[in-house]
Amino acid sequence: QGRPKITAAQAGDGFQFLTQQLAIKAGFFEKEGYDVEIADVGSGPRVVAALMGGSAVYSGLGLINLLNARAQGGELVAVASESSLIDIQLVLSNAAIAKTGIDAAMPIDEKIKRLKDLRISITSPGSSTDTMLRTLLRARSIDPDQVLKVIPTGGGSNMLAALEKGASDGFVWGAPQTLMAANSGIGKIVIDPFKAEVPEVKGVPYIVITTTMDTIKKKPEMVRATVRAMTRAMQFARENPEEAKKVVRPAFAEMDDKVFNQAWDNYYKAIPETPAISREEFERTKTWLNITSKKPLTVGYDESVYGKFADEAAAELLKKK
């Protein structure tokens, strides 16, 4: 009570933001002396608006969103990494699987080739799911617009609805929706970065804690506290998974245990070793993104990443250099 409040913006909700949930539920923000209030703004552009308008202190944002925004002049900076693996899978409906003969065990190139003529949902154009789908195809020299019907379907429950209704043959998204689809028997996950089958996203960080230089100047303590709380949460989850699971479970009260456990396992694999974002990770992300970009991204590491707080936290909390 009476603690200053940090407002965080986020686009959608799901396991990609689990670290944040954990940090809040386990009281790591409190420990830093702050309360956190989360505003779900539903999409990348609105996250950027919230950050640049100063109404949110930070946001867990896809690094590729940050890069896209920067490329257009949106002055965002990443201060820490939240997950080290792109948590986005491709789910196909049973009918589509039967039709294409795709099998999760097939080599990725073969699976991609067989996606021909399917209708695949993404959340929205330009989002991580869009990028993921397009790069999967482009990396294998297939033009997604020629071969597939890419349907932006929005977040929330729309994707599952579309799949169940048969309005789409599959969707690209993260946990828990992919797992829900698989567990409810509507479809199967056929491409899964967690199985290390997608070389181009190997070592590409997904969600990064993002803010603006302006905020860093005006509210350095809040940003530092955020990075520290998140670092503590990652450490907690890594070292004490069963405890951590119990702490966040109530946030997903509606979810059945099976889905939750699978999602957790995926999340666990994606916890980064350190909050710091390395130059290599940054460049790998650019390379990945450049697969689909019309003109190569020229955004530089130094202007996009502000590593001070992450380095401090790593040194102090994780005893890492």
């Binding site: 407002t7 913006a9 959608g12 909700d13 799901g14 209030e37 989360i38 505003a39 779900d40 703004v41 539903g42 552009p45 609105r46 950027v48 608006a49 919230a50 640049m52 308008g53 100063g54 109404s55 949110a56 977040g155 929330g156 429950s157 599952l160 609805a161 169940e164 828990p176 929706q177 829900m180 997903f252 509606e254 979810m255």
Partner: protein
């Protein structure tokens, strides 16, 4: 403009107390019937996408114990403040432009143009300038209400019998008095029509605003439930919203009946 100007609704409004009670009973019966039908079909055909009234009731109890009221409070505040600001601005603009040919000729196209901008696409700007708290939603609601009120008031002013106005003018009414004593009351039917239309839009604008970015309000409940595939949560929030919508619109209808009571000819 005549005194006896009601076609059929007046019969309903002329209601004696008994009739009013009958209407209420039917309204409630209608609502309960719809819920029962929902529950029944849900149980028969499955309810993955639609949840069930019984589950919603349980959820309502659960939420009632936590922060449901805070969400409701936030949404209602946004709605009322926005409604008040938008109505005042819209009515004033409608009255002014409705009576001033020059102003209307020059400003009307601008207003129509601004009105035509789809606000959802401007959500980022709204957040950029007005943040994630109530202000941005209040702005959204105000804008939505303003235009609806403006168009209705403008049309209402245009429909006034010019002779009513001149009669008062000849008595020496000042501009302000002309508005107060003739134009505003004469346009009242249109203004209320505007409010009745604007009310649901205000609620919907506030919750949409919350959906597009916010941490409190029924819209946040909706987006939270939606992203967690929590259909019961989604419908619970929707039902709360529905009930608020019904209560508010009934309130407006009540005020309207009182202010426009001269239209109800005695029998």
């Amino acid at each position: 403009m005549t005194g006896r100007s009601v076609v059929s609704t007046d019969q309903a409004v002329r209601t004696k107390a008994g009739e009013r009670r009958a209407v209420l009973v039917w309204q409630i019966a209608f609502g309960l019937g719809a819920l029962a039908l929902w529950e029944l079909t849900g149980r028969v055909f499955g309810s993955t996408w639609t949840s069930l009234p019984s589950q919603i009731a349980q959820r309502l109890l659960l939420w009632g114990g936590t922060d449901l009221f805070r969400h409701v409070y936030v949404t209602l505040t946004e709605v009322f403040v926005g409604l008040a600001l938008g109505t005042v601005a819209g009515v004033v603009a409608g009255l002014a432009l409705g009576r001033t040919q020059t102003l209307a000729l020059v400003l009307r196209p601008i207003i129509v143009t601004l009105y035509s901008v789809p606000l959802v696409t401007m959500a980022p700007l709204l957040i950029l300038w007005f943040g994630l708290e109530m202000e941005s939603k209040i702005v959204l609601v105000t804008v939505v209400v303003f235009f609806l009120m403006f168009f209705n008031t403008f049309a209402g002013v245009q429909s006034i019998d010019p002779l009513l106005v001149t009669t008062l003018d000849l008595m020496g009414a000042t501009t302000l008095e002309r508005y107060r004593k003739v134009i505003a009351p004469a346009a009242m039917a249109w203004i209320f029509s505007g409010i009745k239309i604007a009310l649901p839009y205000a609620l919907s604008a506030a919750t949409t605003g919350e959906l597009l970015g916010g941490s409190y309000g029924l819209g946040t409940l909706l987006s939270r439930a939606g992203s967690q595939f929590d259909m019961t949560g989604l419908y619970t929030a929707l039902i709360v919203l529905l009930v608020i919508g019904i209560l508010l619109s009934e309130g407006v209808a009540f005020v309207e009946n009182h202010l426009l009571r001269w239209r109800h000819v005695a029998e």
